[in-house]
């Protein structure tokens, strides 16, 4: 077996060695933390996805060891493969941050921002993105785009107004099922997701389009308006399923199963596709063998510090800027609360200021 060549790539001053053929985004994901560009349309499990949303734009300041010229334009990191000796700027480039701000603004101008009534709120990638990279106000003064409502089946609710046209569901429907019945109609800003002549989606795995949707455009009808996601507790569970792996995540409140989804990794991507039967019909705790609480790391609003072993994102700011940042004020030195060494999950009941004081003395 020939050994795959390894390429050295430097992203925001952090060097990592990756196999040839890795994309910049995946190399950055190996580092993790802030240097990873956000991705709204790229989905590592879907062939051909990516390159569309333009949120993952990065600046390549040095093409490779052999050809050190910088790339003239910002490139989509999800679809650009690394070269040996490549130097990439993500959060250290003002150009990138500016362009990303622009992309987030463009994504939001026609988004209805109906988060208070949207089932996706709390686990929405667009919420995360606009929180991290967006601006508070909007400069858009026109009516937002609306669409005619379309019914695409008994299980899946389509809200076209929320769609950001990432094409993930189109790729999912194409690659998981053998019929091409789900796609984009029209073009430009009046493009819309639709099914073949308005027929309902009928396939054993079609429910996965709900999981891949980064926003609330495709939601679970069996969970619709039942609960907010942050009030439900995610637990990993499995069952002996004849069609799929049966490994799922249950979203429970007490003993009641509110929703079944596939398990997602720390980039919000589905680990294993699950079938419609598991997703929509097995809504009782007795159907499942519960393994234990899920490890939540990306969507902080869901975990709210209630879960044991939440994985914190690594912080690389000292390596990115090459020195420890000089803080104007270290909040932990001044304030009693908000101390990083106090694990909120180990405190019984709601935290009280005494809990922090007690800890301080120890």
């Amino acid at each position: 077996m020939s050994e795959q060549p390894k390429f050295k790539v430097t992203i925001d001053n952090i060097t990592v060695e990756v196999p040839a053929g890795t994309t910049i985004l995946n190399a950055a994901r190996m580092i993790g933390g802030d240097v990873t560009p956000p991705a709204m349309c790229y989905y590592s499990k879907l062939e051909g996805s990516g390159g569309k949303c333009r949120t993952c734009l990065v600046e390549v300041s040095k093409g490779s060891e052999k050809d050190p010229r910088p790339m003239p334009k910002l490139v989509a990191s999800c679809r650009t493969t690394v070269m040996d000796g490549m130097e990439v700027k993500n959060i250290t480039s003002d150009k990138v941050l500016d362009a990303r701000k622009g992309v987030v603004e463009m994504l939001l101008i026609n988004h209805p921002l109906d988060c208070p009534v949207c089932d996706q709120a709390g686990e929405c990638h667009l919420q995360d993105l606009s929180y991290e990279h967006g601006v508070a106000g909007t400069r858009y003064e026109f009516d937002r785009r609306t669409f005619e409502k379309e019914d695409i089946g008994d299980y899946i609710q389509l809200h076209m107004t929320r769609c950001i046209l990432c094409y993930r569901c189109v790729f999912t429907a194409d690659q998981l099922t053998n019929k091409r019945e789900h796609g984009i109609l029209e073009r430009g800003d009046h493009a819309e997701i639709s099914t073949l002549l308005g027929k309902s989606l009928d396939n054993e795995f079609i429910g996965n389009v709900i999981d891949v949707c980064p926003v609330g455009a495709l939601t679970d009808k069996t969970f619709r308006f039942k609960n907010r996601v942050w009030f439900t507790k995610p637990v990993d569970a499995h069952r002996d399923c004849p069609t799929c792996s049966g490994k799922v995540r249950l979203w429970m409140r007490g003993d009641e199963v509110f929703r079944v989804t596939a398990r997602k990794d720390k980039w919000g991507e589905v680990e294993e596709w699950i079938c419609n039967d598991c997703r929509f019909h097995k809504k009782e705790a007795k159907d499942w063998v519960i393994e234990g609480p899920s490890r939540i790391d990306r969507h902080s609003v869901i975990s709210q510090g209630h879960y044991v072993d939440t994985v914190k994102q690594p912080v690389y700011i000292d390596r990115v800027i090459g020195k420890n940042p000089k803080l104007l004020l270290d909040i932990h030195k001044v304030s009693d609360v908000n101390r990083p060494d106090v694990d909120l999950s180990k405190i019984e009941g709601p935290a009280h200021s005494d809990d922090f004081k007690k800890n301080k003395d120890n």
Binding site: G51, K52, T55, M106, Y167, I184, R187, G188, D189, A191
Partner: protein, 450 residues
């Protein structure tokens, strides 16, 4: 100097007999005595640059074509000419279709394409029939089909109609559409020269580029490269429209100055109705608009010529581009704001909707421009427009985003007072046009001579 349109006015040149009598298909006879590599070398020597807009050297593009063993290669002719203001390919295909067919046969032989496609814009419905008739005639006379001129080379040309999308003029979108899919541009790399049509190596060339291969074969690459100036070799077709006395198709050898081209009787014949020149888009709607003073003279005060280098002198700050040769002339009565709005509407309508900045930004720009044009604009809108175009440009998969951003940017850059006048005089701007401003005053207007 006429190469492409040399016999354009011969009676019946559309048909095989007249075309053959006027020296047609000599290039094929000559080409089949050469090896494919020699033809590519000849095209390289000619310095021919792509006539579709980007101006990339054709010979170089051809030499990039991957030639893996056992995998067919394709040549695709991009006849999806949809740029507002550009209609040169239409003229070629409609009146001298055999020139394109001849160029295609030579190029197919050079590139080893046994199945060559003409992807033609859907709105050119009648031209499909003309081309298909020309293909049949060529086939009946042994220029196409199996074993052409006993060389052992087979070639078929198929005409495929598009369904009316500007975006399908982008080469990867064209390939997608030709494959029967939705015409969304692909993400490059891989480039079509490596993986194009049906994942096979593909060359996509403009109609005029492929037609120009014929004179290159006839007179030789060396001689062809001597026509023109510097790196702008050969002749270029320009489709002139707007407020000139004689709009139409002109073939130039790129040595003319812009002033000569607009005002001489040999070409456009000056501005119609005795008006003054205000502005001009020299290369199709996507390239930056230039006010009269910058059009006739560069920022350094030198005369501007009708060639790739001179038109782009000064970059986008004070220059423009040769583009696809859609020369649009504006007289003093034209409103730049209204014109920019029309273009923004076009790009909004034609955006494929893949990339967020282009999909959302083009619509946003159109709405703002509409407000300004109809007297509802604010002063801050102008800066907002500038910011939006800056965020679209360069941040999209294909050049449509750039093409949508450049006209808006150039209009604001050169005609900012006109935008401001629209905002400040909402009522007056509905009744009359801004007219000439100091910046757009032509430096020199030739007086009418008898």
């Amino acid at each position: 100097m006429k190469l492409l349109l040399e016999h354009a006015h011969v009676e019946g040149i559309r048909y095989y007999d007249a075309y053959r009598k006027n020296g047609g298909y000599r290039a094929v006879e000559k080409a089949f005595k050469m090896t494919p590599d020699e033809i590519v070398e000849e095209v390289k020597k000619s310095g021919l640059r792509g006539r579709g807009g980007a101006g990339f050297p054709t010979g170089m593009k051809w030499s990039f074509l991957a030639k893996p063993e056992g995998i067919p290669r394709h040549l695709v002719c991009n006849a999806d000419e949809s740029e507002p203001g550009t209609f040169k390919d239409r003229y070629l295909m409609e009146f001298i279709p055999h020139l394109l067919i001849e160029g295609l046969i030579v190029s197919s032989f050079a590139l080893g394409s046994n199945a060559t496609y003409i992807y033609i814009r859907g709105e050119y419905a009648w031209i499909v029939d003309i081309l298909e008739q020309a293909i049949t005639e060529a086939k009946n006379n042994g220029w196409l089909g199996k074993n052409i001129l006993n060389s052992g080379f087979d070639c078929e040309i198929y005409v495929q109609r598009g369904a009316g999308a500007y975006i399908c003029g982008e080469e990867t979108a064209l390939i997608e559409s030709l494959e029967g899919k939705r015409g969304n541009p692909r993400i490059k790399p891989p480039f079509p020269a490596i993986q194009g049509l049906w994942m096979r190596p593909t060359v996509v060339n403009n109609v005029e580029t492929l037609a120009a291969v014929v004179p290159i074969m006839n007179i030789g690459g060396e001689a062809y490269s001597k026509i023109g100036v510097g790196r702008s070799t050969g002749t270029k077709l320009l489709s002139v429209c707007g407020n000139v006395k004689k709009p139409g198709i002109y073939e130039i050898d790129m040595t003319q100055s812009v002033e000569e081209f607009i005002f001489s009787d040999e070409y456009c014949g000056g501005i119609a109705n005795g008006k003054k020149l205000k502005a001009c888009i020299p290369g199709g709607s996507s390239v930056p608009i230039l006010p009269a003073n910058l059009l006739l003279k560069t920022a350094k005060g030198e005369t501007r010529y009708m060639n790739y280098e001179s038109l782009s002198d000064g970059g986008f700050a004070t220059g423009s581009m040769m583009g696809s040769g859609g020369f649009i002339v504006f007289d003093e009565d034209q409103c730049v704001v209204r014109h920019t709005m029309t273009l923004a509407r076009f790009y909004n309508h034609e955006s494929c909707g893949q990339c967020s900045p282009c999909r959302e930004g083009t619509g946003w720009m159109y709405k703002i421009l509409k407000n300004i044009e109809y007297g509802k604009g604010k002063m801050s809108d102008i800066d907002l427009l500038w910011d939006i175009q800056r965020k679209i440009e360069g941040n999209t998969i294909c050049p449509l985003g750039d093409a949508a951003a450049w006209p808006v940017a150039a209009a604001i850059r050169h005609f900012r007072d006109e935008f401001e006048w629209h905002v400040l005089n909402p009522e007056e701007s509905q009744k009359r046009n801004f007219g000439l401003a100091h910046y757009a005053d032509p430096i020199h207007v030739p007086t009418e001579t008898a």
